[in-house]
């Protein structure tokens, strides 16, 4: 288990100081596939570099097994890294690369040989043990980098956007491969990415970061269904954000107006302060106007985009806001709809999520 306690990183001093990471606290469990997700410049790479030991926090503690390791150099932490550009040693063979960490640890020669063979088998590269690095494809280099970092059996494996240089097909393959490796080795993986789809596919839990702040730590499903705020809701998946006006709070019930439509909701679903309603496009259905239960909206069809299984329907609401719905192509209400026509949409109450603005 590794814990971060109020970790901050500030570069420079005085007026020119830049805060890369602001007061981040989180706990990563044993044997977890944990992902740091956020746009570039959000601080996720800074956080990873602190876990590896390439950066020292300006404030806060990094605790591994009850010991603060924040000031330990990288060679004295049981943590290994897979670099974004792999950083394989070009003057060594595949096997020599994989053996490097074990040699530094002073393991006996026979044990190193056995472990290297084991690692080569793990990433299915036995036949390439004596190849030079320059003679390998990107996907092969990726596997060598993984084997090299896993060989010393670290407590934690850090992965810094390791799939970003691969083409889409290979990336999908490696996502599954990484998941398998994590399950087989039982090592905690801390994975950095800016790709939300990749994060949702692979992770046990995801930490969403933005501008040096930690916004939410949750499972992929919770992040998608119950985002903590507007930033997380906007970053994970697609969403429509509708203005919310609270008319009254009456005990357990609150009467609100969402995009011009009146609605009564349990008061406990309302966050404090300003809020917006998040509606996922796939939770919207085409329905006859004037139905009851949930949110009913009607407007003018602006555009219909056919995407194979579904159609994206862009609707302009009376208040000027635009809403996007994803309608299954089997839906009979879709027949005869064309740009300029009027259409009515319904959103079930449980598909409405009120998030702090």
């Amino acid at each position: 288990m590794i814990q971060l306690h109020s970790v901050s990183k500030i570069y420079g001093a005085g007026a020119g100081a830049v805060t890369a990471l602001s007061d981040v606290s989180l706990t990563i469990a044993e044997n977890e596939f944990f992902t740091l997700l956020g746009p570039s410049g959000c601080g996720k790479t800074t956080l990873l570099r602190m876990l590896a030991g390439f950066e020292v926090p300006s404030r806060g503690a990094i605790v591994l097994d009850g010991r603060d390791i924040a000031d330990l150099p990288p060679n004295r932490r049981p943590i290994n890294t897979v670099f974004q550009n792999y950083a394989l040693f070009p003057h060594m063979t595949v096997a020599q690369n994989i053996a490097f960490g074990l040699q530094s640890l002073g393991r006996p020669r026979a044990a190193i040989k056995a472990r290297v063979a084991e690692m080569l088998a793990l990433v299915a590269m036995e036949h390439l043990a004596d190849r030079k690095i320059a003679a390998m494809s990107g996907g092969q280099q990726q596997r060598v980098a993984l084997a090299r970092a896993l060989a010393p059996a670290p407590r934690i494996l850090l992965l810094d956007e390791p799939l970003s240089a691969l083409d889409l097909k290979l990336r999908r393959q490696m996502q599954i491969e990484l998941k398998r490796l994590q399950a087989e080795t039982g090592i905690t993986f801390v994975f950095v990415t800016h790709d939300q789809e990749e994060a949702l596919t692979m992770s046990d839990r995801i930490a969403v970061m933005g501008a040096g702040l930690l916004h939410q730590v949750a499972s992929p499903r919770d992040l998608y269904d119950r985002p903590a705020n507007r930033f997380v809701a906007g970053f994970i998946g697609e969403g429509n954000f509708l203005p919310v006006h609270v008319r009254s709070r009456d005990g357990a019930l609150a009467r609100v107006t969402i995009a011009g439509a009146d609605l009564t909701l349990p008061a406990e679903t309302l966050p404090a302060g300003e809020m917006q309603a998040l509606v996922r496009p796939e939770r919207i259905v085409l329905a006859p106007a004037g139905g009851t239960g949930g949110l009913h909206l009607s407007g003018v069809v602006e555009n219909l985009v056919y995407i194979g299984t579904d159609t994206h329907l862009h609707l302009r609401l009376p208040d000027g806001a635009q809403i996007t719905a994803r309608i299954g192509n089997g839906d009979p209400h879709l027949q005869g709809l064309a740009p300029g026509a009027r259409a009515a949409l319904a959103v079930p109450s449980d598909a409405l999520r009120l998030v702090p603005a």
Partner: protein, 266 residues
């Protein structure tokens, strides 16, 4: 549509290029040719002969000066390269808040100080040191050569380091290597071509230095270039052409090797 400007299409491009090459190499061609002249009159060709080479190689004074020059160049190149590697590491790998660009500029300063000024300055400093310490010997000449060789050894090492991915060293540290092991197993092997290139460049620069050697040397410390200068004062001898041709050959060989070695990119 306007055509892109290409200087190669200008009239006379080939002729100007040929002229430039002629100006560069004509003096060398004349020198090399006359070093093989059988006669001893300048400007009159009397047939092909190894005569001057045989005479130069059996000349005890030339042997003595050549040996001194080679030893001096080897030791000066070794010392200046060792210092240059340390300097290059400090100016490329130290953290970015230190004034490393200013330090790099200071290291390269000997390249822009006029050599004669450097020579006078060293002469002054060394005569003060001689008086203060009473020490004499080859040490002064060696120190002078190391000084002006450092920037030449520094530049290829630094270029190599800048082209090297710093993540390689981070990866080695991440895999439990101590800073010394990182240097021994990662930095040094990857830097080797740059170090060799820097060494050979420093060797050639030391080997053909005249001005500073002429100022610093004392009796019995003749180097090959200062010996040649001394001989030329007494009248031109084709023996010197033979020595010059051998020097050109050696320099060319070393610089070609240095280029070939450094061509393999990290």
């Amino acid at each position: 549509m306007a055509r892109r400007f290409d200087p190669q299409t200008l009239p006379g491009f080939g002729a100007i290029a040929a002229l430039a090459f002629a100006l560069l190499y004509l003096p060398l061609i004349v020198l090399v040719t006359y070093s093989f002249n059988a006669g001893d009159l300048i400007g009159r060709w009397e047939g092909l002969s190894w005569r001057w080479y045989a005479q130069a190689l059996s000349n005890a004074a030339i042997q003595d000066a050549a040996l001194r020059s080679l030893v001096l160049a080897l030791v000066a190149a070794a010392l200046s390269t060792a210092l240059a590697v340390l300097a290059a590491l400090a100016t490329t790998r130290a953290d970015q808040f230190r004034p490393r660009h200013a330090i790099a500029a200071v290291i390269n300063q000997p390249l822009v100080v006029p050599e004669i000024v450097m020579a006078v300055a060293l002469l002054l400093l060394f005569s003060m040191l001689r008086q203060a310490t009473g020490l004499s010997g080859m040490g002064y000449l060696l120190a002078a050569h190391v000084t002006f060789c450092i920037p030449f050894a520094y530049l290829p090492v630094r270029a190599r380091l800048e082209g090297m991915d710093a993540n390689l060293e981070r990866a080695a540290a991440d895999l439990y290597a101590s800073p010394l092991t990182v240097f021994r197993r990662i930095t040094l092997p990857l830097l080797a071509p740059g170090i060799l290139a820097g060494f050979m460049l420093a060797f050639v620069i030391s080997l053909d230095n005249v001005v500073i050697s002429q100022f610093i040397k004392t009796a019995g410390q003749e180097t090959l270039p200062t010996y040649m200068l001394g001989q030329l004062r007494r009248g031109i001898s084709a023996e010197i052409y033979a020595v010059s041709t051998m020097l050109v050959g050696l320099s060319l060989l070393i610089l070609t090797l240095s280029f070939l070695v450094n061509r393999t990119r990290p």
